[in-house]
Each structure stands twice: as C-alpha cells, then as structure tokens.
Amino acid sequence: MARVKFLCDVERCIDCSGCVIACKEGNHVPVGVNRRRVITLDQGKPEEKSISVSCMHCADAPCIAVCPVDAIYQRDDGIVLVSKKTCIGCGYCFMACPFGAPQFPSGSVFGARGAMDKCTFCAGGPEETFSQEEKHLYGQNRIAEGKVPLCAGMCATKALLAGDADVVADVYRERVFTRGSGVNAWGWSKAYPRKG
C-alpha cells in the first residue's frame, strides 16, 4: 500500500500562492480558514525562501494522539482526516500540531468554536464518497477519482509534490542529482553542518 506525502521543493517555490487559491476555490473553504499557506522567511533579504505548508499527514500524528473524542483518524494510505460531526472544536489538535495545520472557523475576537478543518489531501471525509454531504463538509474527493490534490496539480513550477511517498521521493531525488549535489537541499547545511 502506498503512503502519501507532500513535499515542497524550496528551490522551486516562488511564493505565488497558486496552491492556496486552488485549494480554496476547489474545496469552497471559508474565508479565514487556511488549509494551506505559503510561508516566506527573510522576505526581501538575500536568503529569502518560501515554502508551502499544510497538514503533513504525519505517520505518527500528534493531533490523533491528543484528540479527546477520537475525531481524527488515519487511513491506510496515511491520509489524516477529521470527522466534523464528532469534533467538539476544543483546539487540542491545534496545540499539538507542529505546523499549525488545524483551522477553526473565524468569528469574534475570542475566536469561534466549531469543527476543526484542515487539509484532506483532497480525499473528502468519512461520509460516503462523492456524496453531497462529503462535498459540503470537506470539499472534493480527488483521491477517489485517481487525481493528485489540487494544490500540487496547480503548482506552476512543480515545487509542490504530492502522492505516493516513494514516487515523490524519486522525483525529488532526481532533481537533487540534476542540481549537481545534495547540499543545496534546503536545511541540509543545518542538519549536516560542515566540520572544521
């Protein structure tokens, strides 16, 4: 069984937010709820980098571990989903998530309570596949249609890769080879600092 993953190639991401808009338009996500965001670091400085971030569909997802009502679950292919009908909107998952992925409806200054919403990997939700209810609560189910998530499909520079983790890794590995070395992968020098 394939295990799905996102990978954002930071050498390719141009901060165009095409992924964000594709996600919002395609899934009719309410304004204020961001299943995906492009984060830019050191904007306007020589070291400027942008990266597109959403739920990473962690293998050992902290959100699942902390959810008091077991609203969050993981499919066999690794996609982490939430049942909006079970969710009580407590926000524990938001505290546990290293990426700020869980989103809540916006409202008054104190925030609004409501079911958590996050990236579904365009795989709908627990309701019947392709049902009106699934579409209304979670958006499209492109995985069931055999398509990649909208964000990756839309990416102009193919920075955002999505799908079977093995295939994603192969695509990225080939790119890194093409670039001449592994050391220009973002974060490499932090992870493996030069000795001496």
Partner: protein
C-alpha cells in the same frame, strides 16, 4: 518574444531586467528554474527591488530606476573591451556596429556606477558571466519600457544580445514576457492609435490593403472620417487620452474628445489617475464594457456613464495569442451568466445600431471562426495567415503530441509542426516559426533571417560611413537560392509586395526558393529616424540626481505628439528633488491582475492581499518615524496624493518607494465604495498607486513613465 517560454529551457544564462515573473508570469518560472537546475544557468536579476525573482537569482543587481540603458551600454563596453563580442555574427548579420562602439566607449563601469549605483566590479562580473555562459536569454517587461527613454532602453537590451551573438539561437533571444493570454494578440491587432492591424501603419496603402481584406470600398471608409487627412494621423494614446478631454495641454485636433468606450480596460493603470477622473466627469458619454465594475464606474461623478456587463473568458470562445506568438483556441466552458453578453454580441448590437452591419460583417458569418479567418488573411506582415481555425483546434486536441523542449510535434496528426504555429506561419503548410531570425533551419521548416525593412544601403550621420544593410555573403537559411542577403519580395504578382499580395503567391514563391518573404538583412544598431540614433542614457524626467541632469539631459519638448504637446526639457527641473526626495516605482503582485477589478472581486484573492500598501525601507522609515503598518501620505509633484499603509521591507533601498498598482476604489484618501453599483462592490478597495505616478512619456511610443518618478512621504 523572439523565442518561446519552452525554449528558455535551453538557455545557459539569464538576465532579467525590469521583469519579475514570479509575480507577473508565474508559469514561465518552471522553464526558467528547469534551465537553472539542468544547465546550471546563472540567473542575473537587475531591478530596483530585491524581488521574488531575486530570491531565485544567482546575482542580484540593484539599479537606480530609469538607468537601464546606461547599465546595458556599460555591459556592451565591457564585453567589447575584453574582446568577448561575437565577431562573426556582427560581421555578417549586424549593421551600424562601429557607430555603436563609438557611443559605448563613454560608458565605462565607473561611469555606469555613478549613473546607476551598480558597483563597477559588479558590471564587470555580469559581463563576464554573460560572455562565458552563452546563449543568454534576456527578458524585460514594463520595468524596461515605462520610462521617458523607454524606447532607447529596450534598444540597448537588443544591442547587448546582438553584440553577444545571442539572436536567432535556441536558448538566446530577447524574450519579453507579455501578460495574460491575449496581450500579444491585441498587440498584433494593433489596439493602438498609430497603426492598422498587423503593424501596417496608417498610410493610404495600409488602408487600401485592409479595405481589400474587409471587402469594403476605400471611399466608404474615407466617408466615415471628417476628412481623409485624419485617417493618416496617429490618434491619442491610452497614456494621454484624457488630455484630449481636459485640454490642460495644447491638443492638435479639431475638437476635444467627447465620448469614450473602455472595453476590458482598467483605467487605474493610467498614470496621474486623478486627471483621468477629471476627464471622466467632463465627457459627454462614457461606456465601460467589463465583467466587473472598474474604477471608472466608481470614480465618475456625473451621470454620463453606462456599464455593459460582458462575459468572462470562460463564457466565450475564439483564438488568442500567447507571449510566445502561439495561437490557441479558447473554448467556452459555460454560457454567459446573469445578464452578461460576450464581446461579439455586444459588438454586433453596437454595429447594428450604428447602421453599418452590412459592411462590418461582409466576411463574417460564423462567429468567431470567421473573425480568425479574416484577420489572418490580412495579417501577412506577421504571418497570421497559416493558422486557420481548423489547424488551431487540431493543435489543441493533440497538444500531448508536442515536445515540451522544442514545441515540435513528434508523429501524430500535427507531425513536424510547432505548437500553436508561432507566427510567422506563412502558409497553411508551414509549421510556424518557433525562434525568430534563426538561420539554422530552412524557411519552410520555421527558419528566418533578419527582416529587410530599412532599405539596402545607408550612410550614417554620426560617422559618414556607408554600409550595406543586407546580410553578408554565405549567411542565409539552408536551401536559399541566394547565397547571402537579399531584399524583400515584391512584384511577384504585379503591383503588390509580400505584405499586400492577398493571393499569397508571393509568400509561396519565396518559400519555394528557400527564402524569407521579407528579405535577409542585418539587424541595425543605428535607427536614423529616432532622436537618439544610437541609444544613450538620459536622466528620468524627474531625476533625483541634479548633477546628472546636466550631463545626461532629456529631449527637447515635443509638439503634436499623438495630438498633444509633450514636455521634456521644460519639465526636467533639477530642484524638484529638494521637495520630492524619493524615487517612486510601481509593479505587480501575483494575487491581483492589472487594474484589479476582477481579482479584487474574488474573495480568496482579496483575502490574500486585502490592503494597498507602499514598500518602504526600514532605515528610511525609522528616519521619518514611520512604523510598520502605519498610514502614510505619498504625494507626487503633480498634486496627486494617496494615503496607504507602510510596509517596511528591505526589498526596496532607502531612496525608493514601491507601490503595487492594482488597487482602486479609494481616491486621495476618500472611499468611493458607495459609488459602485449596489451589490457589485469589490471585496477590496484601496488607493490607486497611479494617482501619484508622475508626468513623463516616452518620446517615440508615449508610454507612461510610471517606473522612475519622484515623491515625498509623510505620516498620515
């Protein structure tokens, strides 16, 4: 573009100047980054701002706005000084080179540093990178054109590519990115005041050519004008039409402009927008045709305006031309929603009401296919005649058979053709021309030499030297009957030339002989009918450097410039910088498009970019006591002022203010949101940056100088 977006995958280096594709042309970036990764191609970004493209660059060169020509001449100087010029290319395919060398001599890297602010060492470094990584693709956009010397600036870009021998080669070229999918098409149809479609100009011959295409009597067209002389005069331009209404400057027309139709045109892309607003109020009639209410709809104070809701691009079909000169068919996705009509329907109703539908629709029975057929049959100058609707649709249906690197179909029903038949596509058998001026391929297979357009011999004013303008012996496309240069074709069909022979026999005859219909000439460095025959640097009209105004003054004032007087010399005041000390420049953001009527009416795009702002360097802001997010006033020398949020960022240096120009709906501090038709207000309104862009127009094209004005700023 001389080449195509896909062909940029073959580039060995890039130079972008006044172009920021991650914001303006994001899709092109996949090809650029591909070349960066595969070819290890250096990316040199020349811009006043450290843009999103600069984040992907190998070299960022910060330039003072409006000094591009000086930098280019500096690079040319450095290339020649080191003997890096392409001597064989220059000997065989370039004219006026010696005259260029003479002018470039003055632009030493040190002089360039004084003018542009670019360190001399960096100019030397960039020249070396370009010389050692050929071919280079050079790209500019409106950052290169929107200056009072815009026409000179873009010529220096071309000259650099000629000197380096990068023209007519895969991976090289001058690749000017056009906007969304029909900006190139509307340019080709000359939605301009000085030419009939396909760059034929306004001469009597041009009118007669198109009358033959349209199948109407020339005398009937003449009868539509006040008198024949007005048929041959350039009209007002988009940049200054409002002068024809306001008449603050002397106009050269028998009447002021009384009525105006703005069709798919967001008016807040006009500089000095507050004067445009005055003109709206003075017009007897203003008609706005747009899917969304534009700024005109809100800015106009009088009851002289009609809004006609037009359908969007998804609700209609037809042929469109991409930045790479490729023609594609746009299919309708849904019928027009609400009470909107598509542009063809609106035009038809207008034409019928005006009473000349019988003349207008002589060749047009099937809309829009017959429109493509008619415009193609007349546009011989640029070879739009081979792309029939049937061929265009065939390409769309078989797009998967075309190669992503070469654009050529391998097998299948379009075998050998180039995707979208990039113009010129001379005949219905021609595959299209993927790279202009490429002599490595036969003309019948998409090759071309340089066009012979300016005679066969010229004596230059500056040197007194006489030079043959045709290509040297031995330089021509494969299978050419003439070994070397030759003039353009005429009199194949008596009384016509390749541009006016509607039977297209001339085109076929030329190609059968392995030759280009437009001749085989040299690319010229000297343009003898321009005020600067070899382009030179001239200070922006509103310059922050009074000392440089003395050495590099602007032009003399120009009378009757597209029917209105234009100030140059009398406008260039060295003391202006004392009161208006900061340079103001404008540009795009990826979330919004053009004047923004459409994108500011999309809730998700509005959410991503909800505020008009000005980019201010943190050091400058601290000196002026301005904090991030605080409201500031920006004022122009012409009295325009806007109240916007300060966005502190090192993208700009401490002498420059940057404004995005997509916002509208607030005018000089006052919200106009109540003046939009009820229920049709955009989600986001903001001050129009173009209220504070300065006076200033190019001497040839009259394009507005929005990239190098002056301003002052203060806390609001």
């Amino acid at each position: 573009m001389t080449n195509s977006l896909n062909d940029m995958r073959h580039s060995k280096s890039f130079i972008f100047i006044g172009s920021n594709p991650p914001e303006a042309h994001p899709v092109s970036m996949q090809h650029i980054l591909h070349a960066k990764e595969k070819n290890n191609a250096p990316i040199i970004v020349v811009d006043p701002r450290r843009t999103k493209l600069a984040a992907k660059a190998t070299d960022f060169v910060r330039i003072r706005p409006g000094t591009d020509a000086a930098f280019m001449l500096g690079l040319i100087h450095e290339v020649i000084a080191n003997g890096w010029e392409d001597k064989e290319f220059i000997r065989t395919r370039v004219s006026g080179y010696e005259e260029l060398v003479e002018v470039a001599k003055a632009y030493t890297p040190e002089e360039v540093e004084d003018i542009t602010g670019i360190p001399a060492e960096q100019t030397r470094h960039v020249a070396k990178v370009l010389a050692t990584n050929r071919p280079t693709s050079l790209t500019w956009c409106m950052g290169g054109t929107q200056h009072s010397i815009g026409s000179s600036i873009v010529r220096t870009f071309c000259l650099l590519q000629l000197v380096l021998g990068n023209m007519g080669k895969s991976g090289g070229g001058t690749n000017i990115f056009r906007g969304h999918d029909n900006v190139q098409g509307s340019t080709d149809m000359c939605i301009l005041s000085h030419s009939l479609p396909a760059y034929y100009g306004l001469s009597e011959g041009a009118w007669k050519h198109w009358c033959r295409v349209w199948d109407v009597e020339f005398d009937w067209i003449v009868s539509r004008f006040k008198s024949q002389e007005w048929m041959h005069k350039s009209g007002f331009t988009l940049a200054r039409w409002y002068e024809g209404v306001n008449q603050e400057e002397k106009i050269h027309q028998y009447t002021p402009i009384k009525a105006m139709i703005q069709w798919g045109c967001g008016s807040n892309s006009n500089s000095q927008f507050n004067k445009v607003k005055q003109a709206y109020d003075k017009l007897d009639l203003l008609v706005v045709v747009d899917p969304f209410p534009t700024m005109a709809a809100a800015a106009c104070d009088t009851d002289n305006i009609y809004l006609l809701p037009s359908a969007s691009q998804y609700e209609t079909s037809g042929s469109v031309t991409s930045t790479s000169r490729q023609i594609q068919w746009r299919y309708k996705v849904v019928d027009p929603v609400h009470n909107s009509r598509d542009d063809y329907q609106i035009m038809e109703m207008l034409v019928k009401k005006l009473g000349f539908a019988d003349q207008f629709y002589k060749n047009i029975k099937e809309v829009p296919e017959d429109i493509t057929r008619e415009l193609g049959s007349g546009s011989l100058t640029i070879g739009y005649n081979g792309q029939t609707p049937e061929r265009i649709k065939k390409h769309m249906e078989n797009w998967h058979t075309f190669d992503i690197d070469t654009l050529q179909a391998k097998g299948g029903p379009c075998n050998g053709e180039y995707y979208g038949m990039p113009w010129p596509c001379w005949t219905e058998e021609h595959p299209g021309t993927p790279i202009l001026y490429d002599i490595s391929k036969p003309v019948a297979e998409g090759g071309l030499p340089f066009r012979n357009r300016f005679g066969v011999e010229k004596t230059y004013d500056s040197s007194g030297r006489t030079e043959n303008q045709l290509a040297a012996k031995g330089v021509c496309n494969p299978f050419s009957e003439v070994d070397g240069g030759y003039p353009e074709f005429s009199e194949v069909v008596p009384g016509t030339n390749w541009k006016t022979d509607l039977s297209q026999e001339t085109l076929r005859a030329a190609i059968a002989r392995g030759m280009a219909p437009f001749g085989n000439a040299r690319a010229r460095c000297v343009v003898w009918d321009f005020p600067d025959q070899i382009p030179i640097h001239r200070e922006p009209l509103h310059s922050p450097r009074p000392d440089l105004i003395k050495r590099y003054p602007t032009y003399k004032d120009k009378e009757n410039h597209y029917r209105v007087d234009t100030r140059f010399e009398s406008e260039q005041n060295p003391d202006l910088v004392k009161e208006f000390p900061y340079v103001i420049t404008t540009g795009r953001m990826v979330e919004h498009m053009g004047a923004g009527a459409e994108t500011r009416s999309n809730k998700y795009l509005a959410e991503l970019q909800p505020d008009m702002y000005a980019e201010v360097n943190p050091a400058l802001a601290n000196n002026l006591g301005i904090r991030d997010g605080q409201m500031i006033w920006i004022e122009s020398p012409e009295g325009g002022k806007i109240k916007v949020k300060a966005f502190l960022t090192e993208r700009v240096d401490d002498k420059t203010i940057f404004l995005p120009y997509h916002f509208a709906g607030v005018l000089m501090g006052e919200s106009l949101i109540d003046k939009y038709p009820k229920g049709h207000e955009p989600y986001v309104v903001g001050e129009s940056g173009n209220v504070v862009t300065n006076y200033g127009y190019d001497i040839i094209t009259q394009i507005q100088a929005t990239k190098d004005g002056l301003c002052k700023i203060s806390k609001a």
